[in-house]
Amino acid sequence: MAVQSSTRPEVAPGQRRGGSQLPMEPQRSKGVLGRLDIKYSPYLYIAPFFVVFGIFGLWPLIYTLRMSLYDWDLGSTIETAKFVGFDNFAMFLGDEDFWNSVVNTLAMFLMSTIPQLILALILANALNKRLRGRTLLRMGVLIPNITSVAAVAIVFTQLYNRDFGLINWFLGFFGVDPIDWTAHSWSSWVAISSMVDWRWTGYNALIFLAAMQSIPRDIYESASIDGASAWRQFWTMTVPMLRPTIIFVTIISTIGGLQLYGEPLLFTGGGNPLLGGSDRQSQTVTMFLMEQFYMKFELGRAATVAWLLFIMILIFSVINFLFTRSLRSADGKAKQRKVAR
């Protein structure tokens, strides 16, 4: 890392002294304008992001936090809303419906992410082989991802239909009675997770595939010469070398999984889909948030749920980060050992 950065003559935005300090900028620019340019234009380049983020990211975040501390009804303003401190937070932390939505979200997150990443790995490994029409197949795995959630949900709802669904028909051959998929928690979790997997497995497979292609071919060749089977090569060489990519994909899936909304909403269907079914079987945290806003008109409480969700994602990201760091240090040690040998 250190070697790389010293060879790049970037204009350092943090440089405090004049332009003459920069290695690639000799005394050529003498005008005031030139100096200003060198000193401040980098800030201008990055400014659009921070301005846009400030308006659409940071400000709503702060405003939401403020709202979450009020009993803020539809039609309230900051003057008329009643300040309640952390009462909203306390209320939800003691609310079994909130925890039910957390459990649903985590259950669907685990049930969708684990099989999804394993499948994506296997799929990427297969696509990494020499195949006929390789590009076509590689493009093909992305098709479920470019299909709209609504279309996917409609098709899957039909597949999981109680009376005429393909899945119940298939299970019927094994003597399983028709399952009312929306009636129970576990069954709606299965259905929704499969929907998520259908959409995102191909996408993750492509990311894995890109990483796999950066692994040098010769180590596989020498492994083959040493007599390692394809499976052994996959598990002891490919997977460990993909670790950073696996971690990246896991973090992205975590953020997406904890914000799950479209699939359960459309799968629930009916008149009040935000509740996630007759007994809140598939209500995720995001749906719970929307329920506070659109069904109860409690804007303050909706803001509270938004912050609770934010905190939840932060916690998971920290866990991911710690996990990443321990893995990286393990990596480093392994490399050092290699070099020592």
């Binding site: 030139g34 201008l44 709802t157 009916g270 008149g271 069904m295």
Partner: protein, 434 residues
Amino acid sequence: MSTNLRRRSFAAIALAAAVTLGAAACSSEEPGNGTTEQITLNVDVFGNFGYEELYKQYMAEHPNIKIVERGTGSQLDAHNQQLTQRLAAGAGAGDIVALEEGVIISYLDKANLFTDLGEFGAKDLAGNFIPWKFQQGTTADGKILGLGTDVGSMAMCYRTDLFKKAGLPTDRAAVSALWPTWDDYIKTGQTFKSKVKDAGFIDAVTNTYNTILMQKAGQGAGYTYFDKSGAMTIDTNPAVKDSYDLAVKILDAGLSAKLQAWTQEWNNGFKQAQFATIACPAWMTGYITEQNGADGKGKWDIAAAPGGGGNWGGSFLAVPKQSKHAKEAAELVKFLTNPAGQTAAFKSKGNLPSSPQALGDAAVKAAVNEYFSNAPTGDIFAKGALDLKPVYLGAKNAPVRTAVENALRTVEQGTKSSADAWTAAVTDGKKAAQ
């Protein structure tokens, strides 16, 4: 070196662009105002209200007013969400907004968001509306939030093909005579189920439960989950428990096809003839026609609902406080919802009037529906709407109703006993009311 030069000139361009943009942003000014008296009224609707001709007439009579209808053909859910957002933001809502029955009730305790139409003479118009319809748009302290457009009313649609299969009469007068009460309806259902095994007698129990509750509340205390002081009465009002028990009785008799309304399964149920009867407001006839398609033509008919009249759906027009033209908007609301306006809307899109005068109009009375074996829909639904007694619904009616509906659905799905589900309904209902 050349790279550096290019980079620097790019920086200069970026700087210049940023400065120009900033200047442009500053120089964009409001166009001159006060040059014209022209007023534009935005009307936010969902679906089809059938007001095109009325707008033309009104604009001809009031040359300074231009009416723009927005959201024509949109879904109710999308319309409601957008309205909630605009009310929360304090800007963007139309000068007139359509509020569906369930929606206007939930805004009753947020009357400060809307103009009190009583200030513009709406109090004198009570006679233009069916009493319960006028009451739904009025707050407990007498503010008029919205004036009624159409009503759903209530009847019972049934499949003549399935009735024939079960050896039941198919003529609408004879079918109506089968079920003067809900107990008779259940008996008929049992007869039906003993002959036809592969279809339910009813699609699902929830919408029927709501009809029963409105009837029982009208005959009893005159309110459902909340009394007029706003106190929760879910476990003290006998009408609620009686209706719940009756709904459970329908389930226990095995009459339900267990198809939740508005789901794919439910839509399939129409096509596959999975149920013989369905609680049927006027607009439901359109939904059945659409779902069942050409195959179903002549296989359906309409009888009276058991237990008397009822209602499901229908809308109101209201003027949000944020409108800058409250007076003009209120005048237009009065024009669109008067008996002549309602009759015109019926002729245009078939929306059943909420005005007794319009319901008595020859054109409404003579209307028949070809798809439903030429049933005299105007007459049947007018009767269903006029038979219903006024019932007071609290502002938190919708979430409490949902809680009870969901409890009934857990009984229907077999995941809870009726006693457990009732306990859950009371607990969840009380929680939803907070």
